[in-house]
Amino acid sequence: MRVKVKFLASLAERFGRREVDVNAAAGVTAEQVWAQVTGGAAMPPNTLVAINKEYAGRGKSLADGDEVAFFPPVTGG
């Protein structure tokens, strides 16, 4: 299946990209996609995950066409 992966803020800088489309195995979780895209980098403990622009646990499974985003703690306002 196809999944869109987004990195935001400092994670976009760290990995040198903001968005990448990947082929992933059916039922893969957010953290498995992270590992796949980052070449096995450890996910910083404070990393936040959103699936289709809603907060989600990192162990949540993705479906075909999903957008999964990884970002650091938010600092707006």
Partner: protein, 144 residues
């Protein structure tokens, strides 16, 4: 209810006045509570020269609309306004405006406080500061 993420500088009090004129019935709300957050020229002990505010377009608006709806569900609030700046900011620039209108002051204050606390802890914005010594991402918001 209005939610907006804006690339351009804004004058918060003009925005509140304009929104009241447009959306609120005079005499219906006894109380308005407003919070405005402004870019400071200091961050801890460091002088800040500029700031870049990044966000997760699409998720931001969705999240802000949800917290405004939640505020209006939890308190008897007539209306709410959230306006947040993104892009390149200078010290003194307004960053965020949240406002809540209600018949009574306790509800207006509670809703306003809830809006800014949830926004700061959950809405997908990130600040990157330009200091004399270089650039750094702000790592965490201070608790409310």
């Amino acid at each position: 209810m209005k939610i907006e993420v804006r690339e351009q500088p804004f004058e918060p009090w003009t925005e509140v006045a304009a929104y009241e004129r447009k959306a609120l019935k005079p005499g219906a709300c006894g109380a308005a509570a407003v919070f405005v957050g402004t870019m400071r020229d200091m961050s801890g002990d460091d002088r800040v020269q500029a700031m870049r505010l990044e966000h997760y377009a699409g998720m931001t608006e969705k999240h802000l609309a949800r917290i405004a709806e939640e505020a209006m569900r939890r308190w008897p609030v007539n209306d709410a306004l959230i306006l947040h700046r993104v892009g390149d900011l200078k010290p003194g620039d307004p960053i965020v405006l949240v406002a809540a209108w209600s018949a009574h002051r306790a509800d207006a204050f509670a809703a306003c406080r809830f809006l800014i606390e949830d926004l700061k802890s959950r809405a997908p914005f990130w600040k990157k500061e330009q200091l004399e010594a270089g650039v750094r991402w702000v790592e965490e918001n201070t608790p409310g």
